[in-house]
Every structure is written in C-alpha cells, then in structure tokens.
C-alpha cells in the first residue's frame, strides 16, 4: 500500500485563492484528483468485519488498486435498482433535475473549492449519469447527449471522492425549486459504495466502536463513568456542589442520551458538565446509560441498515430501564436521525410516555409519538417558566454568536429554542448575516463523518463560508465565542476558528447556561466552566 505522507495544510491566503472558472474539459472527461489532505483514509478491515459490511480488506485510496470484488459493476447496478424501488426520493431526484444551477453556489464545498463537481447539481449528476445509462431509455439510446455514461472504475473512484466531499447538510435542498436534496443522493451514493467496501476510516471506525461499545469513541463503561466523575470533581471545584449522576439506573423517569463527543475532549466536556449541573439543580430523576451512550449515528453515513442497527440501543435501553421518556443532548445529525428516522425504524415507542417536564408540567405534544425531546426544548421551557435562577453577567466577557447546525435547522427546525436560551444567559449576542443562519446556515465543513485529521485541508475549505460569517461578526461586534448545539461542531470548530478567525472560542449552548446558572447553595463563583477565572467576578484579578 502506498504510504501517504502527512501533508501540511496550506495557509488561509492560499486556500482563499479560489477560481470559480470551470476547467476546459467537460466534467465527464475531467479525471478525479486525489490530493493528499483533501480525502480521508479508507475503511479498515476489522471495522467492516465488526459491522458485517461487504468486502473487508486493507486498502488505501492512494493506491491504484482499490481491491473491489469481481463483478462489482453488477453489485452497484443491482444496488441502484434496489434503492430505486425503495426510495421515491431517489427516483424522483434522479429524474427531475433541470440543471438550473440554483444550488451551485449554495454548497460550502463548491464555494470553497470552485470545483464544479462540488456543485450539488453535478455531484448528483455523477450518479445520475450512470442511472440514465442503465435505467432510462433516453440514456441508453442517446448516451452522452442525454447526459449518460458507462459505469467504470474511474466513475466509482469519482463517486467515492465526491460523496465524501458532501456533508449531507441539505443547504442545497432549501434553494432547489424542486426540493432535490443532495444529502439524499449522497446517502444513497455512500450506500452503493459500501456495497463494494468503499467507506472511510473515520466513519466505519466510530460506527464499529458504537456497535460494540455503545459509543463512537469506543469508551467502555468504566471509562464513561470515570470521565463523568472527573467532570463532577471539576463542578465541585467551581460551585462547591457535589453532583451525583447515576448510570444504567432502572426506574429513573428520564434517560439522557448525548453524543459521546461530550464525554471526552474540549470543549465537549464543558457542555456535558452543563447537563450535569442543570439536572442536579432541577433534582431531575434521570439516568445516563453506558450502553446507549451515543446520541450520534455514524451508521447514518454508512447505510440505512447500519444506522438502524446503531440507533437500536436508544429505545432498547429506555425500555430495559423502564424510563418514561428520553431527553437528547446537543448534537446535529443525531437529531436528524432521531427526528426523521428513529420512530420509523424502531417505533412505536408505546413503552414510553409522552414527555412531561416534571418541573414545569409542560407536555411536549410535539414529541408525543417519538417520546424524545431536545435538551434545548426542555431548557427553553424551564427558562420561560422562570424555573432557573440565572446570572447572565457571568457571561459578560463573552460576545456570542450562534451557529445553527445543519441537521437541527433543516431536518427539524430547531431555531428559536437555543437562541432563547442564549439570549437568557448572555448579555452580548450577535447574529451572523441572514444568509448564513437558520435554514440557510452553513455547515462546519466536517459533518457527516468528515471530521478526520488527514483531510484537514478539505475541512478548512468546507468550513470557510461558515468561518467567514463568524469573522464578519468578529470584526463588526468583537464576537469571541461561537455557540452551537452540535458535538461535531464542538470537535471541528476549534481548528476552523484557529485557522480562519483566531480568537473565537467554541462552546455548547448548555455550557453557557451552566456558567450563568445560579445553583442552590453554591459558593461564590470565581471560575467559569472551563476552570478559568471569571473576569469581573473576583478570582485572581
């Protein structure tokens, strides 16, 4: 296997030198370039075996030979036929695109690379051209005139390259006059690639870990409790209050599930501390689970089956523990899956009850079937009912802006709840420009399993439009903190901010809340959740 050297990420001046002029050759004749730093490692043999996915082997995208099995063309074409019969979305989206180009400059990867194959329309066309050739009469007879082409190894490699340069953020589908959703095409494209063993390590690794150990990070039960214990120590240092969370406790009223990114690494753990403090302050009868210790779902970036298999744990654990309902933490694609897929896969959740906040009595009718609510819905309700004592001045040193994660905004519509929380706990809040927030929000550039380290250049590109909007408010209002409700954001943004707009930190929304939360019997706070001095609040100043 070719040894891929670690490459140096170009400087921002170099990356922002983008040409939008298409190449001279037609896209069908333009070969795919595999430039180190822009693509991810191939999936490992052991992980595919764990997940029971096809064609496990050691391979590298840098090699000429990708070791796909004999007869792979048939596998792919049969795979397309099967998915056409399963997904109306796929069929319709393959047929009705008029190539108006409205989606083109809506994709963060196109904006940041200028590569026409990163326009959603052309990314879909990569697959559509094969669909036309083998599944439509016009493509069969007219060939290239109708935009059809043969399936060959170069096409397969091109798919792999570009379907793993799409973060399934759905921004294009907001602008498409027919609602064609490239995320849907990418999801199916990736499923097809999986049929011949072409996944990336950064997805299949976490997915395999999640399958066996319950979370993407592969944290074993004692590691989870250990990490949370450490957080509790820190909380005690900050507040003087000892928080005692429970794990896998039967008979709790609520099961709390959050992405495992919150168990390890900054700034995710601060958000997790925020959950612990909030629930303690409320005296909430809830439990963590080490088995269902992952809200996110990297299976969703693999195949429908894998996603369903990973998601299984949440309802199964809720049933085993006998809780009444589930609260989910801050995560992006997790909520796409929970909102649009979980109930369909594993429902009906008739062993649960319609969520009712034990503090305010609010009945969450919007989750009456799925029986799972978002922490922001839960918290916004608490604040609205004045159930929390808050001191927003503790966040006065922060000038905060809010990044809408792709999935909660375009696959759910969770827009106001986190804003309401942030505005209640921060005195300085500034929105980014209108075309870059809410349903038009830009992806962090690392979503859908692309937050590896080997593709850092591509991540910095993909996050450029988002970072550029942050930079706008940084320059205009002095914004120094980027709030979000997504674990991938928390993992990906620090590097992105350092790269494009140094001086802007990254925080989960619940961390901001925890910092402002005045707890019963707490000591005078001199430290923030990060154990740093709270400016203007005594401490070492």
């Amino acid at each position: 296997m070719a040894k891929v050297e670690k490459v140096k990420t170009p400087k921002p001046e170099e990356l922002s030198n983008i040409s939008y002029h298409p190449p001279a050759t037609d896209w069908m004749d333009t070969p795919t370039e595999f430039k180190p730093g822009t693509y991810c490692w191939g999936a490992k043999e052991k992980d595919l075996i764990t997940l029971g996915l096809p064609n496990p082997r050691q391979w590298s995208p840098a090699d000429e030979d990708w070791k796909v099995p004999e007869g792979w063309e048939t596998t792919i074409l049969d795979g397309i036929a099967e998915r056409l019969s399963k997904y109306r979305s796929f069929k319709v989206f393959m047929d009705i695109c008029v190539r108006c180009g409205a989606c083109a400059d809506k994709c963060h990867f196109y904006i940041a690379t200028g590569d026409p194959k990163n326009m959603p329309v052309l990314r879909a066309e990569l697959l559509r051209s094969v669909y036309k050739k083998y599944f439509t009469k016009s493509g069969k007879f007219l060939g290239r005139l109708a935009g059809a082409r043969e399936l060959d190894m170069d096409v397969l490699k091109e798919w792999w390259s570009y379907f793993f340069q799409c973060t399934e953020c759905r921004r294009c589908s907001v602008f498409c006059p027919y609602g064609i959703d490239q995320a849907e095409v990418t999801i199916i494209g990736r499923e097809l690639l999986n049929l011949v063993g072409l996944n990336i390590d950064w997805i299949s690794g976490p997915a395999a870990a999640c399958y066996m150990k319950g979370n993407h990070l592969g944290l074993e039960p004692h590691a989870i409790t250990g990490n949370i214990e450490t957080m509790c120590d820190d909380i005690e240092e900050i507040t003087g209050i000892r928080v005692n969370p429970t794990f896998n406790r039967k008979g709790a009223e609520i099961l709390f599930v959050t992405p495992s990114g919150d168990f390890l690494g900054e700034p995710g753990i601060y958000t997790c501390m925020g959950y612990l403090m909030l629930f303690h302050e409320l005296g909430l009868d809830y439990t963590w689970s080490t088995y269902a210790s992952e809200g996110g779902n990297f299976g969703f970036f693999t195949s429908n089956d894998t996603a369903k298999r990973l998601n299984y744990k949440i309802y199964a654990e809720a049933k085993r523990l006998g809780v009444k309902y589930i609260i989910g933490g801050e995560c992006g694609h997790m909520w796409r899956v929970l909102n649009q897929y979980m109930d369909t896969w594993h429902g009906p959740a008739d062993f649960l009850e319609v969520p009712v906040s034990p503090i305010t009595g609010t009945r969450f009718e919007n989750a009456k079937s799925t029986k799972m609510i978002h922490i922001s819905e839960f918290t916004a309700d608490l604040i609205k009912h004045n159930k929390l004592k808050l001191d927003p001045s503790r966040n006065d040193h922060l000038k905060v802006t809010y990044h809408d994660s792709c999935n909660p905004s375009r696959g759910m519509g969770l827009l106001e709840e986190p804003r309401y929380i942030i505005k209640s706990v921060c005195n300085n809040f500034y929105e980014m420009p209108e075309n870059t927030i809410r349903e038009k929000t830009f992806c962090c550039g690392s979503g859908s399993g692309l937050n590896a380290s080997e593709n850092m250049e591509q991540r910095m590109r993909g996050g450029f439009p988002r970072a550029n909007a942050v930079r706008y408010v940084q320059e205009k209002h002095g914004v120094n903190m980027l709030a979000n409700i997504c674990a991938v954001d928390r993992a990906a943004f620090p590097a992105l901010m350092d790269y494009w707009c140094p001086g802007v930190g990254v925080t989960g929304t619940t961390e901001l809340l925890a910092n402002a939360l005045v707890m019963k019997g707490e000591i005078r706070r001199t430290l923030d959740i990060r154990l740093q001095d709270l400016p203007g609040k005594g401490g070492n100043e």
């Binding site: 001046e13 006059p177 375009r410």
Partner: protein, 333 residues
Amino acid sequence: MKALLSFLAVIVLILIATLGVDVANLHFLFGIIIPYLAFVMFVGGFVYRVLKWGRSPVPFRIPTTCGQQKSLPWIKQAKIENPTTNLGVVVRMASEIFFFRSLFRNTKTELRVGADGPKLSYGSAKWLWVGSLVFHWSFLIIIVRHLRFFLEPVPYFVQIADSIDGMLQIGLPPIYLTDLFFLLAVTFLFLRRIVIPQVKYISLAADYFPLFMIMSIAISGMLMRYYYRIDIVAVKELALGLVQLHPVIPVGIGAIFYIHLFLICILFAYFPTSKLMHMGGIFLSPTRNMKNNNRMVRHINPWNPELEYHTYEHYEDEFREKMKKAGIPVEKE
C-alpha cells in the same frame, strides 16, 4: 457544441415538417396521425412515469424544514415553511408550484479578497426566479389561449385570457403580452446557459434541446400570427376535428402551421422521457410535500428491515466485570 447539436436537431425537425407538407404533401400524417400519436405518448408517458415514481414508497418522512418547528406553545411556528398540518403543506406546495418559492430564495455568492482577507457576500439574485416565473406563467396562459382552437363555443375564461393578454392593442392583430414575455424569458433562460460559465458547464444537450424546441414553437407561432398569416378558421376546423375524433384536413393552411404543430408534437412526445417531467415530479418531492410532524405521528416504512442488533445482553456479557468494578448496576451478577 451541445447547444449546437440541439439546435441542429430542431432545424432538422423543422425541415422534416416543411418537406413533409410542402413537397410530400403528407398533410394527413402531420396534421392528424402525428398529433394523435404525440398526445397518446404524452399522456401515456406522463402517467407511466408518475405511476413508476409512485410504485416506490417514501420510507422516511424527510421534509426540508425552512423555518421554526412546532415545539413549545410560546414559540411561533413557521406554519408554511415547516408545516405540521395538511393545510400548511398545501400552502407550501402551492407557493412552490405557483410562485417558485424556493427559487425566490436564490442568492449569488461572491468572493472578494482584500487586504483584510477574503470576504464572502451573498447578494440577491432574483433574475432566475423572474425569468422562470415569467416563462412558466406565459406558457400556461398561451396554452389556455390556444383552447379557442379546441373548444366550440369558446368558453368565457378563454376569451378573458385572450382579451387581457391582447389588451395593449398594439398592431393588428394585437400583439399578445405573453408572446413577448415568453420569447424574452426563453431567450433569457437560454442565454444564462451559455453566458454563465458554471451553468454552461453543467448543461447537457438535453437542456438545450427543449429550450430550442420551445423557442422555435414560439417563433413559428408568432410568425403565423403576425407575419405569414394563415386561415385560422381552417386551423380551428382541423383542431376541432382532432378533439371530436372526426379528423379533417381543411385545405389551404400554410406550411408554417404544420411546422408549429409538428414541433409541439415532438415536444409533447419527448416530454415524459425528459427533465420536463419536473412538472409532475415537483408534486412528489418528499422534501417539500411532507409534514414535519415526525415526532408526533409515526411514519411507516413498508420495507423496514429486520436486522441483527448488539443487544444489552451482549454488551453486559462483554463488560460485566468492568461495570461491576465501576459500580454500574448489572442484570446478571
């Protein structure tokens, strides 16, 4: 090149019609047989395509939400952009179909690299929206106007459409506004395909062909009305004959009419095999025609697969000792 090929294809079609009528005298073929064939291919093909889409289920409820969800009672829901009721969906779909709501959002991204680094800006870009809206609405009104050839007596709504369309009363016969708008819009849609490099890059021959067809149909129609005048009473006799299933070929209709008719027939026959099916497809687009009531009402997937799961028992079996040591309750001691 792709544009040129499509253009040539249309020229060939025009020649076929001209020769067929003027030289070979195949009026019966071009005036009766081909129109019937085209109609059957259009209707049959359209219905076939829609049913083909319909045979695949919608396994998941995947609306693209473009506004605030329905959650807490005091948070204002975007009832149209993020609908939870049938009415909301109907209004959302209607705004897409009649006003191209999503296209209205269009922006143009610009990158400027200055002394203080790169800056992206998103300007308003409504021309595509205006052009498409004018194009489609003109097309619809023109079709409604043409019903005067197919209906006898001519119903009131057709007369109204006609008189409003010709209300400027410029020239004789009066110029229809839609004729002008239509030609302008279709020219715009064509020009942006060849002028904007990105759009040119993604355009296929299959994108230029319908544009040239539609343009030629419009031009031949306008020539017939304003320049090479034809006997429209005879045209109506032909058209009525077709819909009354007693086809007749009145004498003395100029070749320009048969060119116009032939191009329309080809376009109709071509319609179901092409991207023009977006007309039907928009209705079936799951990101637009579904409610975002996912957590309120369970959506059923007819092929929801039975799979093997890593159950809690598996998990506890693997980690029991570690769990016990960490003080985590276990099912089996």
